[in-house]
Each structure stands twice: as structure tokens, then as C-alpha cells.
Symmetry: C2
Subunit: 504 residues, 2 copies
């Protein structure tokens, strides 16, 4: 047993070095998106590629595999619920996945992502799809090569999806998305037949500095810890973690829109509070991450929507917003504001979409990704395919690619495939977890209306965040909700909320 | 010869990886000093230690030594002035130095520096020397261990000095500093007997945002390239390079002082323009750095003082400053302003010191460092020793440690010993190089008065910056000035400028 303890320490020491390299890489990437001047991009690609390659070489070191093999007996002896058993299990999963990939390939991907992101930041404002087309073609090719390292898949996207949402496959997602669609399309239809509330007051001049201050106030309110984080500006908001002691978020403020940055900040706070809430004992190990992309997204959507777009939240926060913008909102009653931020409208931009239509945006992307990966759709034809799908599913056509296929960073900043399903999985799961929180926190509604969000955050820390990757997503969902992922709570939530709002 | 070419490529590939790791580490360090939240410090120490250790392991790899050995014949065959010959020569020097140090020691130093810097940022505002004392003791101990890896030194500080200013020793610096002192002390004395110009107008309320904008304007004016850099705020200003395409500076703005941040910005611009001006062909190799700490400092001081505190510079820039601060400076004539920014006063703070007394601050630190390293002075006695030396040399005693021994980051952010001599070497050299520039650019004075600084910057790129570390500091000085380092131009410059200002 003493030899096993030594081995466990040796394992942790190796994992710490790998973690240091990966978190350093994450900082280089954060810097690229926040403060790096244009001249830095070439060297940054090389630097990131080197760090990712070295991390990957260490993660695939045969000595690590031997340690994991030797630790099998310890894993069996330990209680199934022991942190150490989880560490060995999760590390083995990562090791087995990493050893499929050559380190040079990992470095190639890292370098590609820096260059593709850089091209995207210039191509989107210029509405220049041609400028990113070669990067996207390269991305698709890299995705295919990635999949090929995992032979035996049923669908070429499965290995990419599995990387983000372990165990999920196209074959599982397609019926789930179809069931959702079957509920959402008639709901959107029914809402479309009802009168729309006013909302023009949301789109006036709102000074960015005050928006930033309000975003920080909202972040503090929900329990994001600024001693262990900060907010910066980027083209596409994101959250990133360098340690549980330093988890940062970014936002993108629009001077003519008061709600976009605020909801996106609450969204990223959800991601960040998850990472801030992980048990510090897991620091420097593979356990110190969220359970899956879907579970992560459940937390961003929970804070953005189930809290952030709820009536009790605005009972507390709206007077603060009015005080910051008295000219714009002083005469707008809370009820009008609440209706405006929950307007359901077919629209062009995913991140600005309401809760009801949001998943339709995701499903379009998911389908297009699959078609790109299978080769049914050529990258050159993607802009048109995008417009066609938007016309078909949402009855809208973007005037250009800027608000079409260039709107999301995902296909440019990371490999296509496996990036979008987590959003819809997260929406579904957010309602399921929130239902449970309400049952266990009987005063939750009133707490939120009094601006007391910490009981909810602390419940989520205790039941979700602290565990990091200790439990797989299905295990965690089972533990928290008592059953598997299911869409009923989410559909029920939408029907009740929007049934009331639109008097359906 | 073809095999040598392959070897040279292999060498460059190895150097690129090492460079990537070191530049990534530099970004982590920049981030620690600019944006990192307090909770990030623990993990940052580990991350930096890992990156530095991996870089060092690669720099001391026996295979690198074998490559360098095999390349000796190529080095001899190449013209002495060939870039490749310089690359082999400089890499060998770095290899020989690096192989003295164990990688674990390098990691230990990196981790110490993060923790010590963090402690200093809190200790200085709190005037709490006791809080940094253990870190400083550890720093002294690490410095001694560093020196011990280079046995055979005449003075224990020599290996540390050699790391920053190759070839320099205590035995060479002490007579140089003594000769300077012999000139400076009577000059300070003579000036002290003359009436002082007014200067209170410099110390009014100057809005930080406007100071920042002016600093940026000044930086642009002298030729600092914002496409390849940026300015951020820190406790102690510095310049740092991640590639010649991304060289950043920082500043520290005081709301009650218009000149401090501006001169410090010009100072850091000098460092940064040096790094921006290095031949891009040297990118990712050990040649892509300044020749030595002293040469680097000659450029920061040249831009800060020989340009930035000159009359022609302010002929052009003062109307801009007045326009930004009309209430504070609208009624102050240029001549009064020029005299005020060149007032010679015994003062407590090195970075705010005038050109004449500045070196006295450096010499105090240099002497105290040597005493700490030899053990003649205990760290616990350092605050008192500091006050005593300031009383003796400058006739002043700081009211506390905040403006005493805690004022400079150097002993906390890096190992004590070898950090300060570069400032005075730089002052001396700045005048020597500027004298040469004036001789070769006959319209320099008028160019500066018209706000045309690029001819000077471009002359410096062509004669100094582009070469990076290709030439050693003595070689470079010889090439640029036609002779060795000498104090006469500097003393001559000071006597003429301050002789006029104070009518000596």
C-alpha cells in the first residue's frame, strides 16, 4: 500500500506538470483574445503549439500508462466514491484518449486555432467569408483526421462529440433534438400568433462604462468571486480557468443594447462559478474541470435564463438598472421590462436568441457541422446552406455572412464538430437541475427577489460544482436529479413561463 | 556542409522550443503584474516554475551541447560577422552558463520570484518590511547558491552581474562608480548652492485618463509601434517582449504628478523599441534580445533623458501637454516647465530622481547588495542600513520603509545582485551613443524640435537595435562609438546641460 501511495504521488506530480502547461496555454489564448496586439499572432501560434505539444507528450508518456496500470489494484480497493479512485479512473480515460493522437497533430491543431481565430476577428467585421474559408477547410480536414484516430465510430462526428460530452453520439443526439424540435416549433408558432410586447426601449444609447459597472454588480450579486476572477472585453465572450483561484470571464458590450452584455455576463458567470466552485483538493489534476460541455452549459444557462431572465431577479435588480439609466428606463415599468427581455422572436443571432428559439439555432449548426464532416456539404457552399436553413427553420435570411455563418467563433477558434450540442444539452439539463434546487430550497423564489443568490450558488457548489469531473455527466445528473437526462422539465418550464407571458 | 546545414536547422528548432517556453513564461509574468486576480498567485508560481524548468532542461540537453560541438567547424568557416556564427557563439555561451544550474534550482527561483513579487505588492503600500523579510532572506540565499554554481569568482556578486552584463565584475564596476561619484558629488554640491527653479505646478491634480492618453501620444511620437505593443498599468513599470511583434510596456500613473508617468513611459519605450527593432530574422533564437542589461538601459535612458528631458523635445510637445491640462499649465511658460522637469534635488525615490543624482541612488543599492551577498549585512538590518546610506550620501532619511527599502521591486521580483549596475552603465553609455547619433544626424536637434523622432529611432535601429545579441556589449559599443565605454561624454553632457540650467 505504501508503494501505491508513492505511485499516486508520482501520478499527481506528472499531472501537475501537464496541468501547468495547459493552464499556461489557456492564459496565452485568453491574452490573444483580450489584449494581444496584432503583431503578436505569429509567435503566439508557435508558443501555443509548443505548450500543447509538450503537455500532450507528457500525457501520453508510457511511464504514465504504467503508473495507471500499477494503480489499478488501488482503484479497486478504494471505495468507489473515493476521490483517488476517481482521479485514477478519469486520468486513465484521458490517457487512453490522448494516446490516440500524435503530439505533432495536437501542436498542428493549436497553431491552426490561433491563426483561424485571428483571421475570424478580422473577417467578421469585414463580412469576408472568403478570408476564413481556407481556415475552415483546414479545420474540417483536421476534424476528420481527429476522428480517424478513433476508428470504429458510427458517425464521423462521434469522436469529436465524445471529447466534449463523453458517451454522447450523433445517434443519441438526433432523436433528442427531434423530440425538442417537435415541442418547440409549435410553441414558437403559437407565440408568433400572439401580440408582441414592446421592447424598443432596450435598444437606446447605453454608455458602455455604466454597462460594465452593472455587469460587475450583477456578477457580484450572483456570487462570482472577483478575488478569484475578472471581466475583460472580447469579440466573443467566454470563461476560462487558470486555477480555481483565477477563473476569468469576458464580455462584449454594445452601446445600443442594454441587455445583451448583461445576459452574456450572467452566462459566463455560470461557467466561471462552476470552475471557482470545484473542490480545491482537485487543483492541478484532471478532476479540476467541469463534468462535460453539457453540464457546463447547464450552469451558464441556469444563471443566464432560469435566474437572469426570471421575474424575481428583476424585482431586485431592475431598480438598480433604472438608477444607472434613468433617462432610458426611468419611465418603463418592471413588467414591461420583464416582458421585453423575454420576447420570443425568430432572429438571426444565436447568442441574442430568446429561450424558446435558441435551440433551433443550435440544431441548425449541429446539422451543418455533420454535413461538413461527412462531406455532404462543401465549405464553399456553407454560407448559402446557412441562409437556406435559416429561411427554412426560422423564416429569416441574414443580409450578409457577418450575421450568418461568421457570427460564432466556434468553427474558427476550435475544430468543427462537437462544439454546439452542449448548448442544447445544457438548456435541457438546466431546467432539470433548477427544478431540484427549487424543491430543496423552499424560499428560493423569495431569496432571489431579495437579491440573495448565494443560497442557490452554494447549493450548486455542494451538489454540482465541487465534484468537478469526479462523476461523469450521467452519474452527476443521476445524483442531483434522481434520474437520467430528460426534456420534460425544460419543456414544462418553457410552456409555463411563456404560456403566462403570451397568454397561450 | 549539407550536414552542417541540417545541424543548424536542428539547433534552431531546439532554440525555438526553448524560446516559446520562455516567452510564454514572460507572458505569465506580465499577466501577474497587470491583470491577475489575487487568487491566481499560487498556481502562477507553479506554472512559471514548470515553464522555466522545462526551458532549462531543454537548454541543458546534452544533445544540444553535441550539436554545438559539431557546429564548431562551421562557426570557424563562416565569416566572423555572419549571423549564423553569432548564433552558434551566443548559444554556446548560454548553454555553458545554463549547464551550471540544476533545473530544479531554476524552477525554485521562478516560484520564489512569483511569491516574493506578490508579497512585495502588498507589503509596500502597507509599509511592512517584516512581510517581505523572509522572501528577501530567501532571495539572498538563492543568489548565493546561484553564485556557488560558478566557482572561481573573485566576488560573490560576479556571476550574477555576469548574467546581466557579460564580462562585468565588481572589480571593474567599483572604480567606474568611484570615478563617477567623484564627478557627481561636487556637481550636486555646486547645484545645491544655486537657487532652485519653481516646480510646484508639476504636482497638481492631473487626470489619469488624460495622462494615459498623453503617454500614448508621446510613445507614438518617439516611434513605439502600437501594432506590436501596448501600455498597461502596474505597480512598477517595465517592458517585456513575447516576440519582436509583441513588446509591451507598463506604466504607473500618479494623479498628483504630471511628469512621473510620462518619463517612465519614455523610459520603457526605449527598452521596447530596442526589442521591436531587432532583426526579425533572429526571431525565436537567443539573438533576439538586447546585448546586455547596460546596453538596454542605455536606450531607456537615452529616450527618457537625452531626448525626453531635452529642450527641443518640449518645444514640440509642451503645447500638447498644455492643451491637455490648460488649467494646470496654461500659464506656465515652456522655459519654466523645462527647468522644473530638470530640477536637481536630493530625493528619496530612484525612479523619480533627476539625471545628476540618479546614479547616487544606484550606487547605494549596488553597495548594499554586495554587503547582503557577502554577509556583511543581514537582511534584518537592511532597512536601517538603507536609511543610514541615504542620510550619508543624499542627506535625507525616508519617513518609512515604503519610500526606503521597499521602493524598488528588484530584490523581490528577481534575485538580489546583478540587477542595478545596468542602470548606471546605461546612463554612461546613453550619452556616448547619443553623441555619436548627433554627429551622424546633423539636423537631429531641429528634427526633435519639429517632433520628428523617427530619424533618431531609425538610426538606433540600424546601429544598435537590429543586432540584438549578435555583438557583445563591448563589441557593440566599439562598433557604434569607435571605442570602449567611457564616462567622459556623460559627465560632459551633465556639466553642460546643468551648467547652463543652474548658471554654474
Amino acid at each position: 500500500m505504501d508503494r501505491q501511495k508513492t505511485r499516486l504521488e508520482a501520478l499527481k506530480e506528472r499531472l501537475r506538470e501537464i496541468n501547468d502547461l495547459r493552464r499556461a496555454a489557456a492564459l496565452l489564448s485568453w491574452d490573444q483574445q483580450t489584449y494581444m496586439p496584432p503583431g503578436g499572432v505569429g509567435a503566439r501560434g508557435s508558443q501555443l503549439a509548443t505548450l500543447q505539444r509538450l503537455a500532450h507528450e507528457r500525457m501520453t508518456d508510457a511511464a504514465l500508462g504504467e503508473l495507471l496500470e500499477a494503480l489499478r489494484s488501488l482503484e479497486v480497493e478504494l471505495p468507489a466514491d473515493a476521490d483517488e479512485a476517481a482521479l485514477i479512473r478519469v486520468t486513465r480515460r484521458d490517457y487512453e484518449q490522448a494516446t490516440r493522437l500524435p503530439s505533432d497533430f495536437v501542436a498542428e491543431v493549436a497553431e491552426h486555432e490561433v491563426a483561424a481565430y485571428d483571421a475570424w476577428t478580422r473577417a467578421r467585421p469585414a463580412n469576408d467569408f472568403a478570408a476564413v474559408q481556407p481556415f475552415l477547410e483546414r479545420g474540417v480536414e483536421l476534424s476528420r483526421r481527429y476522428a480517424a484516430f478513433f476508428p470504429g465510430f458510427a458517425h464521423i462526428a462521434d469522436p469529436l462529440i465524445d471529447e466534449a460530452d463523453e458517451g454522447m453520439t450523433v445517434a443519441m443526439l438526433q432523436p433528442l433534438f427531434a423530440a425538442l424540435r417537435a415541442e418547440l416549433v409549435p410553441l414558437v408558432q403559437a407565440i408568433g400568433e400572439r401580440p408582441q410586447p414592446a421592447g424598443a426601449f432596450l435598444y437606446q444609447e447605453y454608455a458602455p462604462a455604466q454597462q460594465m459597472a452593472l455587469g460587475e454588480e450583477a456578477a457580484r450579486l450572483v456570487g462570482y468571486d472577483f478575488e478569484r476572477g475578472r471581466i475583460d472585453l472580447t469579440a466573443h465572450p467566454f470563461a476560462t480557468s487558470f486555477t480555481t483561484g483565477d477563473v476569468r470571464i469576458t464580455t462584449n458590450i454594445k452601446a445600443a443594447d442594454v441587455s445583451d452584455a448583461l445576459f452574456s455576463t450572467l452566462h459566463e458567470c455560470g461557467h466561471a462559478m462552476y470552475e471557482q466552485g470545484i473542490d480545491p483538493a482537485y487543483e492541478s489534476t484532471p478532476l479540476a474541470r467541469g463534468a462535460s460541455a453539457g453540464v457546463h452549459e447547464s450552469q451558464s444557462r441556469l444563471w443566464e435564463n432560469l435566474v437572469g431572465r426570471s421575474r424575481p431577479f428583476w424585482q431586485f435588480f431592475y431598480p438598480r438598472l433604472q438608477a444607472a439609466f434613468p433617462t432610458q428606463l426611468g419611465a418603463v415599468p418592471l413588467d414591461d421590462f420583464y416582458r421585453a427581455i423575454n420576447r420570443v422572436r425568430r432572429s438571426l443571432i444565436r447568442v441574442e436568441a430568446d429561450e424558446v428559439t435558441y435551440n433551433l439555432h443550435v440544431i441548425i449548426r449541429f446539422d451543418l457541422e455533420l454535413a461538413l464532416l461527412t462531406g455532404d456539404l462543401a465549405v464553399a457552399d456553407l454560407p448559402d446552406a446557412w441562409h437556406e436553413r435559416y429561411e427554412r427553420d426560422l423564416g429569416l435570411r441574414a443580409p450578409d455572412d457577418r450575421d450568418g455563418v461568421l457570427q460564432d467563433v466556434h468553427w474558427y477558434g476550435m475544430l468543427p464538430g462537437g462544439g454546439f450540442q452542449g448548448y442544447t444539452l445544457g438548456n435541457v439539463l438546466s431546467a432539470q437541475i433548477f427544478e431540484r434546487a427549487k424543491a430543496e430550497l423552499p424560499t428560493l423564489h423569495d431569496d432571489i427577489a431579495r437579491g440573495e443568490l448565494l443560497p442557490l450558488r452554494d447549493w450548486l457548489i455542494a451538489h454540482v460544482y465541487r465534484y468537478g469531473r469526479k462523476y461523469s455527466a450521467p452519474e452527476l445528473i443521476e445524483r442531483v436529479t434522481g434520474g437520467p437526462l430528460r426534456i420534460e422539465p425544460y419543456i414544462g418550464y418553457l410552456k409555463q413561463k411563456y404560456g403566462e407571458l403570451y397568454r397561450l
